[in-house]
C-alpha cells in the first residue's frame, strides 16, 4: 500500500445549527487528502451543501473546527455552483478572468491562463461569446473554467450537473475527470446521483437528513483514468449497488 497522501483539509466534529434549533449538520468529521475526489451523497436536507459552504468559508461552524494544512491554503480554492452563475454582461473570457481580476491580474497578463483554461474545457472558440449565446452544458463548462483558472488546490462543486440532461452530464463527467487528472487538483463534489458519484469519486461520503450527518464512507477503489468502459463494467455495477444500499439505509434512518 502506498504512503497515504497528505491531508489538506480536516473537519472535526463540526456542528452547524441555524436559528438556534435547526440542526443542519451534526458532528461532521472529514479529512480531505491531496488528490481526492470526494462525493458528498445524500437526500436533500442532509447538509451536504451546508458542508460545502463551511469549507468555502461562506459560513462558520457553530462548534467543531475546520483546519487547512499549509499557509495560504484557505484562499486556494475554486467553486462551482449548481447554476452556472456567470455574469451575463461579460464575455466568456471575461467571466473566466474574474478570479484573477479580483486578485489584481490585468487582462493582458491573464490572457494566457484564460485561453489555456478555456482550451481545457473545450471552449477556446467561444472566448468572445456572451453567456446567453451558450447552451446549458457550455455555460457549466465556463463555470468550471472559472473555478480552475487560478489552478486551485481544492475545487468545491455543488451539484453542478443536476440541471443538465443525461447525455451532457455523462460527457461533462468524463471531461471533469480528465481535467482533474491534468491539473492534479482535489475535488469535493456534492451530488444526489449515485451513478455520478460512483463514476467520479475515489471516496463517497453518504449522508442522512434531519439532522444532517455522515452515515458511512465508501471507498471506490477502481483505478483512474475511468472511461466509458468503466460505466459498463461489473465493478461499476457492484459499486453503485453498494452506494444505493447505503443511501437507502440513510433514507430509512431518516424516515
Amino acid at each position: 500500500m502506498a504512503e497515504p497522501r497528505p491531508v489538506i483539509l480536516s473537519m472535526r466534529a463540526v456542528d452547524k445549527v441555524f436559528g438556534g434549533d435547526v440542526v443542519a449538520l451534526r458532528r461532521l468529521s472529514l479529512d480531505v487528502r491531496d488528490g481526492d475526489f470526494i462525493s458528498l451523497l445524500g437526500p436533500s436536507g442532509c447538509g451536504k451543501s451546508t458542508a460545502l459552504r463551511l469549507i468555502a468559508g461562506l459560513s462558520h461552524p457553530t462548534s467543531g473546527r475546520i483546519r487547512w494544512e499549509g499557509a495560504g491554503a484557505q484562499d486556494d480554492l475554486g467553486v462551482v455552483f449548481q447554476e452556472p452563475t456567470l455574469m451575463p454582461w461579460a464575455t466568456v473570457a471575461n467571466n473566466v478572468w474574474l478570479p484573477l481580476r479580483l486578485k489584481g491580474v490585468r487582462r493582458a497578463a491573464a490572457r494566457h491562463d484564460i485561453m489555456e483554461t478555456l482550451r481545457l474545457v473545450g471552449l477556446e472558440n467561444f472566448a468572445d461569446a456572451y453567456p446567453r449565446e451558450l447552451s446549458g452544458g457550455m455555460k457549466m463548462r465556463v463555470s468550471i473554467a472559472r473555478a480552475m483558472v487560478t489552478r486551485p488546490r481544492l475545487i468545491l462543486m455543488d451539484e453542478p450537473f443536476a440541471s443538465l440532461d443525461e447525455i451532457t452530464r455523462f460527457k461533462l463527467n468524463d471531461d471533469l475527470l480528465a481535467m482533474k487528472q491534468q491539473l492534479g487538483c482535489t475535488v469535493v463534489f456534492v451530488t444526489h446521483s449515485v451513478f455520478e458519484s460512483v463514476f467520479l469519486s475515489n471516496r463517497i461520503v453518504i449522508m442522512a437528513a434531519r439532522p444532517g450527518r455522515v452515515i458511512r464512507e465508501l471507498a471506490i477503489d477502481a483505478p483512474y483514468p475511468r472511461t466509458e468502459a468503466f460505466r459498463g463494467s461489473l465493478e461499476y455495477t457492484a459499486f453503485t449497488r453498494a452506494a444505493s444500499q447505503a443511501l437507502h439505509e440513510a433514507m430509512g434512518e431518516a424516515a
Binding site: 468559508g57 484562499d75 455552483f81 455574469m87 454582461w89 479580483l102 456572451y130
Partner: protein, 287 residues
C-alpha cells in the same frame, strides 16, 4: 421495413412554403407597426379638420390642424426660443437627477444606516405633489432658472434613486458568494458586480425620469408664472391662453409632446446600445 426510409421530398416543399409564409407575416408585422399608427393619425387629423371646417368653428375656440401647422411655422422663432429653454431645464434636471440618484443609491448600498436615515425623506419628497412644493421654492430661490431646476429635479430623481438601489441590491447571490470567496474588496464588488447588475434597472428608471423631468419643468413654469426673456413652452401656453391665441397654444403643446417623445426615444436607444449584447430585455424573441 427499414429504419432509414427517406423522407419524401414533398415535405421539403411544404416546409419551404411554411417558411415563406412566416417570412411574409414577419414583414407585414414590421410594416404594420409603422404604418398603422400613421394611418390612425391621418384619419384623426382629417376628421379634426373636417369638423372644424364643416361646423365653421372659429379658430379662437378650436383651430384645425392646418392652422396649427401654419402657426408652428409662422411663430417658429418665438417657439424655438421657448423650446430651447424647456429642453435645457429638462436635460439639466435629468443630469442632476442621474448624478444625485445614482450617487445616493451607491451610498445606500454601502451603508444600511445611510439608507435608513435618508430613504424616508426621499419618499416624502416623491409623494408630495410638485405643484404644492413649487410656490415655496420660488419664494426662497431668487433665480428662476434655479427654481425650475429644483422642481424638475425633485420629480425626476426618485425613479433613478429607487431603481438604481433595487438594481445594486439584486446582484445574483451566488455571484456575491463567489466574490466573497475570492476576497473581493467592496470597491471591486461594486464595480464589477453591482453596477453592471444595476444597469438595466437604472436605465428603466432613467426612461421614467426623462419624462418626469419634462413634466417637472413644465409644471414648475406654470407655477412660477413669470414671463419675459428666457421663459419656456409652458409660459408660452399660458400667455397665448390669455390672448386667446389658441393655435399657438396647440403649437406649443405639440412641441412639448414631441420633446417628450424624442427624450424617450433617445433614452430607449441608449438602453438598447448598452444592453443589446447581453440582457434578456433586449433580445428579440424568436418566432
Amino acid at each position: 421495413m427499414s429504419l432509414t426510409d427517406p423522407i419524401p421530398d414533398t415535405l421539403d416543399l411544404q416546409i419551404d412554403q411554411e417558411e415563406q409564409d412566416r417570412a411574409r407575416r414577419r414583414k407585414v408585422n414590421r410594416i404594420a407597426k409603422w404604418v398603422l399608427p400613421l394611418v390612425v393619425m391621418a384619419i384623426a387629423l382629417g376628421l379634426w379638420q373636417a369638423v372644424v371646417t364643416l361646423n365653421e368653428i372659429p379658430h379662437y375656440i378650436l383651430p384645425g390642424p392646418v392652422l396649427v401647422a401654419e402657426t408652428l411655422v409662422k411663430d417658429w422663432p418665438l417657439l424655438l426660443e421657448a423650446l430651447l429653454v424647456t429642453v435645457q431645464i429638462t436635460l439639466l434636471a435629468l443630469l442632476i437627477a442621474v448624478v444625485g440618484g445614482v450617487g445616493l443609491a451607491v451610498l445606500f448600498t454601502q451603508s444600511r444606516f445611510v439608507e435608513m436615515s435618508f430613504y424616508p425623506y426621499a419618499v416624502i419628497l416623491q409623494v408630495t405633489p410638485i405643484v404644492a412644493i413649487a410656490p415655496l421654492i420660488f419664494i426662497y430661490v431668487d433665480s428662476k432658472l434655479a427654481g425650475l431646476l429644483i422642481c424638475a429635479w425633485i420629480v425626476a430623481f426618485f425613479p433613478v434613486l429607487s431603481n438604481t438601489t433595487l438594481g445594486l441590491n439584486s446582484a445574483d447571490h451566488n455571484l456575491r458568494d463567489l466574490y466573497r470567496i475570492y476576497g473581493a474588496t467592496r470597491w471591486q464588488r461594486l464595480r464589477f458586480l453591482q453596477i453592471p447588475s444595476a444597469l438595466p434597472y437604472f436605465l428603466g428608471g432613467l426612461r421614467i425620469a426623462g419624462g418626469l423631468a419634462l413634466i417637472g419643468a413644465v409644471v414648475a413654469e406654470y407655477v412660477a408664472g413669470t414671463g419675459g426673456i428666457g421663459s419656456g413652452l409652458a409660459f408660452t401656453i399660458l400667455e397665448a391662453g390669455y390672448r386667446l391665441n389658441i393655435p399657438r397654444m396647440f403649437a406649443a403643446l405639440f412641441l412639448i409632446a414631441a420633446t417628450g417623445v424624442v427624450i424617450f426615444a433617445c433614452l430607449s436607444l441608449l438602453s438598447h446600445l448598452l444592453l443589446h449584447k447581453w440582457h434578456e430585455s433586449a433580445v428579440k424573441p424568436e418566432e
